[in-house]
């Protein structure tokens, strides 16, 4: 340091490594997952590097930041980022950390029409494009060695949108967002493209903390509808006046689909999820839109729009079609998450329908919501109990439906019959293990979780 040479201020994107010893904790032969993955600090640090340092992570909905300078703050793994609309209409994302001493440059959660971000410590000032525009001309500009143009907030390496949803990755070598999803977009479109005018988030972001490992909620949404029968029984009775019943619609007209660890479980009952929001008017509305959705998406997907269904986009972005709650399980150490939730609606919906969705999601899936509380308690005890010294050596069972895989040429991805199944959770952990094992994208994109080739996945088959 005392040699005092010029600094190299280029943004740095950390490289991935390989952790076969952690990958082996997922035993695909026996459909088992080692309990260590839920509490071990070294594994958690490896997740930050291997998964959150590379994966495309959900940042925002375009509707949150319509105009130049509009921004939201969020997390990518444990890194704080600012997502901001540029003057040319594109979306940029930057680490919320000043390259001088590291202080955050943005303190608020969201705002409109920002002109830039000024660091509170020594006043360095950054444009909405992340570039250092000034310090205090009276000091730095008199230093002949100061290279202002070389300094910038670290840009998130790639930012891209899919039908209104904005994602970012810290890996400059990550495949495009479209490749990252692969044919999984066919399922995302159930929510994102059932109406020509597209979607928006309404009512802001609700944040809360749950003392659980981030993978419990992610695996729950990727394919665990089984728990609803037991966990949500009393809540459902209170709202619906009757219990959750596991009738034939979970078996005959239901499936799980998985692609690159992203997964959706669904039945085809049209409005099962929407019903649990507690407003008959919403159920009528979803029925009234069915024919229109069917023209756009075909019968199978139109039936999914309000159905009992849940989805996780690997690693930690989840939503419930029908209930319209979208969320990110932000990791905060191995045994804590911060949960960010939003409500997604079609732009074309009448205002009072949007309002019912907003209230419905608040009453069910928010810190004060009936179902969120049901789930959160279970995930907290799963996390804590798994930590016991002897307990952590015991096997866990992920084997429901191991022989239920079907070809289903009309449905993209790995398909299992019936939504009461651990299949998507097995694929989720297989994907997790692939991220632990592989240090490069060509292995990651051709591994076991990659979608099987199908003649014409999608609409043609309807």
């Amino acid at each position: 340091m005392c040699k005092a040479g010029r600094p190299d201020m280029k943004p740095a994107y950390p490289q991935a490594g390989s952790y076969p010893q952690f990958a082996d904790l997922v035993d695909t032969e026996r459909s088992q997952v080692d309990r260590k993955v839920f509490h071990d600090e070294a594994i958690y640090q490896a997740e930050l590097r291997q998964i959150f340092g590379r994966a495309w992570l959900f940042l925002a909905h375009e509707s949150q930041i319509p105009g130049a300078g509009d921004f939201v703050r969020t997390k990518m793994g444990e890194d704080d980022v600012i997502v901001v609309r540029q003057r040319d209409g594109k979306i940029g994302a930057f680490l919320n950390s000043c390259p001088h001493r590291g202080n955050r440059v943005c303190m608020v959660d969201a705002g409109k029409k920002a002109r830039g971000f000024i660091c509170n410590y020594h006043g360095w000032s950054f444009g909405i494009d992340g570039r250092l525009v000034g310090t205090d001309g009276k000091v730095y500009d008199t230093d002949p060695d100061f290279e202002k143009h070389a300094i910038t907030l670290t840009p998130v390496a790639q930012v891209a949108s899919y039908k209104g949803l904005v994602f970012g990755t810290f890996d400059p070598n990550a495949p495009s967002l479209a490749d990252w999803f692969g044919p999984f977009t066919w399922y995302l479109d159930v929510m994102l493209d059932n109406d020509p005018e597209g979607t928006e988030f309404i009512g802001g972001c609700i944040r809360s903390e749950i003392e659980c490992n981030w993978k419990f909620p992610a695996e729950n949404f990727v394919g665990d509808i089984l728990h609803a029968y037991w966990t949500h029984q009393s809540g459902a009775q209170a709202i619906l006046g009757g219990g959750v019943d596991l009738g034939p619609q979970y078996d005959e007209r239901a499936f799980q689909a998985s692609i690159y660890g992203h997964g959706i479980e669904t039945n085809l009952d049209k409005t099962g999820n929407t019903k649990t929001l507690g407003y008959p008017e919403l159920v009528d509305y979803v029925f009234s839109q069915y024919d229109k959705a069917k023209d756009r998406l075909g019968e199978t997907r139109a039936r999914m729009v309000g159905a009992i269904s849940s989805c996780t986009v690997f690693p930690n972005f989840s939503f419930l079609p029908g209930q319209a709650t979208f969320r990110v399980w932000q990791p905060k150490g191995p045994n804590k998450i911060e949960l960010y939730t939003w409500t997604l609606v079609n732009k074309s919906m009448p205002e009072h329908i949007k309002e019912l969705y907003r209230r419905g999601t608040m009453m069910t899936f928010s810190p004060g919501g009936v179902f969120e509380m049901d789930d959160g308690e279970n995930w907290e005890y799963c996390t804590k109990a798994n930590e016991g010294w002897v307990t952590r050596h015991q096997p866990l069972h992920y084997a429901l439906g191991i022989s239920s895989k079907i070809d289903a040429p009309d449905l993209p991805g790995h398909i299992h019959r019936g939504s009461l199944n651990d299949a998507n959770q097995r694929y989720f952990y297989t994907r997790w293990a692939e991220f632990m094992r592989f240090d490069n994208w060509s292995d990651l994109m051709t591994a076991e979780t990659a979608p099987p080739a199908k003649a014409a996945p999608g609409v043609a088959a309807e």
Binding site: R115, G116, I118, G123, S125, G127, V133, G134, D136, G137, K138, D141
Partner: protein, 105 residues
């Protein structure tokens, strides 16, 4: 009054501020506003940063560094950090497609 030629009118663009070095004095900034060219000190009265990094918005010049806003014409400062003075504007004239300004004290 004595006019100084600053640059070709064609060099100015909407939504940008152009900085011009002038022999023997501090740089001058030019912008398109009110259907013509306006000239003012490029050096922000707050902390000496260049206003050419800023932009024009709703009849004001906005400094990109700490976001002080200066009314075009009067130079009165709004939303400015403490101690920020008024911005000085200069009368302009277009001759032969070039922007000239009276930079006399």
């Amino acid at each position: 009054m004595s006019l100084t030629r600053l640059c070709a009118l064609a060099d100015l663009g909407p939504d940008k501020i152009t900085r011009v070095e002038v022999e023997g004095r501090s740089p001058v900034a030019l912008a398109l506003a009110d259907g013509g060219a306006v000239a003012f000190d490029d050096t922000c009265p707050h902390a000496d940063e260049s206003l050419s990094q800023g932009w024009v918005e709703d009849g004001r010049i906005v400094c990109a560094v700490h976001f002080a806003e200066f009314e075009i014409g009067s130079g009165k400062a709004h939303n400015a950090p403490i101690g920020c003075g008024r911005l000085r504007f200069y009368p302009t004239e277009i001759r032969d497609g070039a922007v000239h300004a009276d930079l006399a004290d």
